[in-house]
């Protein structure tokens, strides 16, 4: 039964794919005899990981902190903006064009400016992450708020609801699924923002470590950092997904199915 569950969850397949990938990688290295500093074999990357795990963990923690803080601030700002847009037609007139315009500038292009203004520390990286997730969260939630079933709004009118109560009891709950898909996107984008920030200028974090390792032709260390980053992003996405699924379960499926 337990094995079945493991089988069904697709975990086995993911593991299989990963092992397959490592085999292909090893075979490519063996056949092409590519130099180590271009593509190190898997075993060497593993060795680098074991040897330098403290270093990697240290820098990983920095990136993780940036990503988490960026996520929190970005999501909160996105929610606040969407609510503001929904409640005030004036805000819609003024803020919306600015929002769209801000998206016309690639966030990547802003990274040097942010580093210049906010320095080499955490703040500039968090700001990058916030900038990159702010728009998806805002637009997903705002769309959700605009799509309240018209029948519910009719009901609210007949029931002589106040605007604020309509917002809290009807519009926001009805927009929750949209907000959560925005949050999912944010979980994917936030690490991108943090890494770009680190590349442009920093003295810690996985992005910094990768640049450093690359500069010293320690390609094995670079790969080890890269995989750590991948694992970090995937865990974050998985975690957010679990939280969201728990929430939606409670929200959509009654616990009273007899």
């Amino acid at each position: 039964m337990k094995q079945n569950k493991l089988w069904n969850s697709g975990f086995i397949y993911s593991l299989g794919a990963l092992i397959g990938l490592i085999i292909v990688w090893q075979v490519v290295v063996l056949i092409t005899d590519v130099p180590r500093f271009i593509l190190p074999p898997p075993a060497l990357v593993y060795a680098a990981f074991v040897e330098d795990w403290r270093l990697i963990a240290e820098h990983g923690l920095v990136t993780f902190t940036e990503v988490m803080l960026g996520l929190m601030v970005g999501i909160l700002l996105g929610i606040a903006t969407a609510l503001q847009l929904e409640m005030s037609p004036t805000a819609r007139l003024f803020l919306r064009p600015i929002l769209v315009f801000s998206q016309a500038i690639p966030v990547f292009a802003l990274a040097p400016v942010l580093t210049l203004w906010l320095g080499y520390g955490l703040i500039s990286k968090i700001t990058m992450a916030v900038l990159i997730i702010y728009f998806p969260v805002t637009s997903a939630f705002f769309d959700g708020l605009r799509k309240t079933p018209p029948g519910l709004l009719d009901l609210a009118t007949v029931m002589q609801a106040t605007n604020l109560r309509t917002l809290f009891y009807l519009k926001i709950p009805a927009a929750m699924p949209s907000l959560l898909s925005g949050v999912r996107l944010a979980a994917v984008y936030a690490p991108i923002g943090a890494i770009i920030g680190e590349w442009v200028g920093s003295s810690e974090g996985l992005g910094y470590l990768m640049l450093l390792a690359n500069g010293r032709v320690k390609t094995d260390l670079m790969f080890a950092a890269l995989f750590t980053l991948g694992a970090l992003s995937m865990s974050l996405y998985g975690l957010i997904n679990i939280i969201i699924r728990q929430f939606l379960n409670r929200y959509e499926n009654p616990s009273d199915l007899e």
Binding site: V158, Q160, R165, Y169, D256
Partner: protein, 251 residues
């Protein structure tokens, strides 16, 4: 049956005027009085303007231009004394039955009266489902929750916009009986396209077709009529004949 202390029922509704939608006449020179304390049907085919008229009475947005007046005999603003039930049950998926029934109070910030809600839910026969979410209820049960929500509002004018038309035949008849019992002697305006429903439930019937509103001689109380009532069938056939004589707008 529990007495819900309904407000005094002397609240006739007078409607005068015309409805057009982007220049096209829908209803011309209406002049009708909805009598207090009884069921009135607005009967008509799709596009006859019956739902638009109901939305105007409810104070809801419509795509139509209305010139004229809708007034109540007690001089109170109409929008403060109506409640509304539509074909779609409009239940909140994220709230349980009790919370759905208390929606009006919550939206007005009055704090829901749970005891009263339970009583109303009992009246519609759903007390054992009170803690459930709408997803785990059948279509008929959901519509009964919507009925309970409407009862809970305790308004003097009840607007029903084809609330039974999406239900299967048996459930529809059961719901008609339940609604007739719960809204007995109240001012109810029922929008429907089904002559059978109008005849079975309503003491006065307005037929909306060919851009005009005509009063039809309805049956006399009590309502609802038994499902094998001969007079009901006779009137239903006569009405159907009259409806079919009208030119079809969609041909």
């Amino acid at each position: 049956m529990v007495n819900l202390n309904h407000q005094p029922v002397h609240n006739d509704v007078h409607i005068n005027g015309s409805i057009t939608i982007s220049g096209k006449a829908i209803l011309n020179d209406m002049n009708l009085t909805i009598k207090a304390g009884q069921w009135t049907a607005l009967l008509g085919p799709s596009g006859s303007g019956k739902s638009t008229l109901l939305r105007l009475i409810a104070g809801l947005d419509t795509a139509a231009d209305f010139t004229g007046s809708i007034t109540s005999s007690t001089q109170v603003s109409l929008s403060s004394c109506v409640s509304y039930m539509a074909q779609d049950d409009l239940l909140l998926d994220w709230a349980d039955v009790v919370q759905n029934v208390c929606l009006g109070a919550r939206l007005r910030g009055q704090g829901g009266n749970k005891t009263k809600a339970k009583r109303v839910i009992q009246q519609v026969g759903l007390i054992q489902h009170a803690q459930k979410r709408p997803q785990s209820l059948s279509g008929g049960q959901r519509q009964r929750v919507a009925l309970a929500r409407t009862l809970m509002e305790q308004k003097s004018i009840i607007l029903l916009d084809e609330p039974f038309s999406a239900l299967d035949a048996r459930t529809r008849t059961d719901m008609q009986d339940l609604a007739a019992e719960q809204f007995k002697d109240q001012t109810v305006i029922l929008v429907t396209h089904d002559p059978g429903e109008a005849v079975r439930l309503c003491q006065s019937i307005y037929l909306l077709q060919d851009c005009s509103v005509n009063s039809i001689a309805a049956l006399s109380p009590p309502f609802p009529k038994s499902i094998d009532d001969k007079a009901m069938f006779a009137l239903q056939s006569a009405l159907m004949t009259q409806i079919r004589q009208s030119k079809r707008a969609d041909r």
